[in-house]
Symmetry: C2
Subunit: 325 residues, 2 copies
Amino acid sequence: MKEVTVGIDIGGTNTKMGLVDRDGSVLLQGNIKTTAFSEFRDFFDGMASTLRGLLKDLPADHQLMGIGVGAANGNYYTGNIEHATNLRWKGILPLAKMFREEFHVPCILTNDANAAAVGEMVYGNAKTMKNFVVITLGTGLGSGFVCGGVLLNGHHGIAGEVGHTSVNPTGRYCNCGKRGCLETYVSATGIKRTVYKLLADHLEPSELRGISFDNLNTKMITEAAHRGDIVAKEAFEYTGRILGMKLAETVVHTDPEAIFLFGGLSLAGDLIFKPTIRHMEANLMPLFRGKIKILSSALQNQAAPILGASSLVWDYFEKQKMEIA
Amino acid sequence: MKEVTVGIDIGGTNTKMGLVDRDGSVLLQGNIKTTAFSEFRDFFDGMASTLRGLLKDLPADHQLMGIGVGAANGNYYTGNIEHATNLRWKGILPLAKMFREEFHVPCILTNDANAAAVGEMVYGNAKTMKNFVVITLGTGLGSGFVCGGVLLNGHHGIAGEVGHTSVNPTGRYCNCGKRGCLETYVSATGIKRTVYKLLADHLEPSELRGISFDNLNTKMITEAAHRGDIVAKEAFEYTGRILGMKLAETVVHTDPEAIFLFGGLSLAGDLIFKPTIRHMEANLMPLFRGKIKILSSALQNQAAPILGASSLVWDYFEKQKMEIA
């Protein structure tokens, strides 16, 4: 039998799933709208029915090994989604238990950035690494730590919330209830806020003055910067400065071999990598300078969240083997 | 045979060593002056001869299992002391290799804060914990992380330098070459600098106005605060505020069950614990609030650095057992 895992990425708007083989090829894919269900049970039934549809199309010689799920506020230890701010269902949602009862295979849940970190280790650029960090730059800023070859989960299952370290205690309002968190500056939303701040503070002409906050996105800012737009270029410099400064603090905590940047903002290439590296080095304790690589994730495509989630299952079986051996 | 380990604590001024049994009792102790030797080889010979002296007094039914050494800039992977700023011998000092050649037992070296963390796990208040942090408050601020029951060493063997995260990039000068590092505010030296800043800024009478910088120490500041001295009390409040703010950032990295405070400054009790806890909670991402314990180390005595260093050997054999099993 060929072995396959299911990877499910639950986002605030869309939920994507796929059947993935051991090499990281996505054999079949499906998706449903997260926002279309007012009850969590109905949302679960929607996922289960989509998954059964995919499994019907899977050749009979393929065995389903398990289900991996990445979701904001997904807790690895409990298998619950806990108090997610980006979903309409509040409280504790016992997702892993529901999947196990329905499909009778292991179900491993973690937050989306942890899933990305395991994905990088299983399929990506961190295959040979034991100590690294993945920073996901999406609507917010997520982070996943691998230390000594093991995903860092922490005592309560919620390690890796670097997006909520402080840049400025009296700074921008954050969804978490605090002010000045890193993700309010460094994320797809953060750079939009920075563009609007720069447009407010300065007089320079900019093509971005014609775009509303709701319509503005990272791709537009990137393209404007490539065309030489001063405000767009300055927005990347500002974002990279703050990211570099804060990564210098993350580095002295866990001493990683590399930090991978993942997601929309990281696709801007040198525009974001150059200031990030420069300011990280300038702010690093000298002992660490020149030692830490800032790299692009190998999973920079649409299927990445599915791959990351599916990799949780392979990682689970690896751990089982280690415990038995 | 009863098993004993050697614990050696190499400080900038004194080097202490002891023979320690499995329960953490120090059977015999000795020490030499670190500063008395201009050549590193002579310092090593001094340590070796002191150790041979202790071993002579050890009953014949005790077996020497190994030597654990805690030293600033001690690298767990290489067994070298690397570019220590607090020692007179520069460059790379291959200490673990020298001890192994001389005594033919395993020698495990790590930095002093990591040794304290393993000590807390082996003999102290963290015996039942898998995820915790130890903050050592001495001349500087050291930190050791245990994640998933394993000491976090990082890729280069230099994880846990939280003392060199940034409080203020244009703040106090630090020995590491940067400015505004946490340890310039939160340490025995840091609180002295704070007292002097407060004496400079304010007009309040204070018994500390009569003491020179060189003569001032944490004990004097603590006693003055207990007597109601406004400047001394404010110095603790200021120190705890900064420590609490920065611990809130450490927490969201690794999600520990507890953070242990160790060393002179932590002996001030409520004076330092109360503002630290208050400001950590106020600055924490809400998801973590009320979940993280701030505790006092169980190894608060003169022998603690020896215990911490000696525990490295027991930890080494535990790991060996896990790899063989």
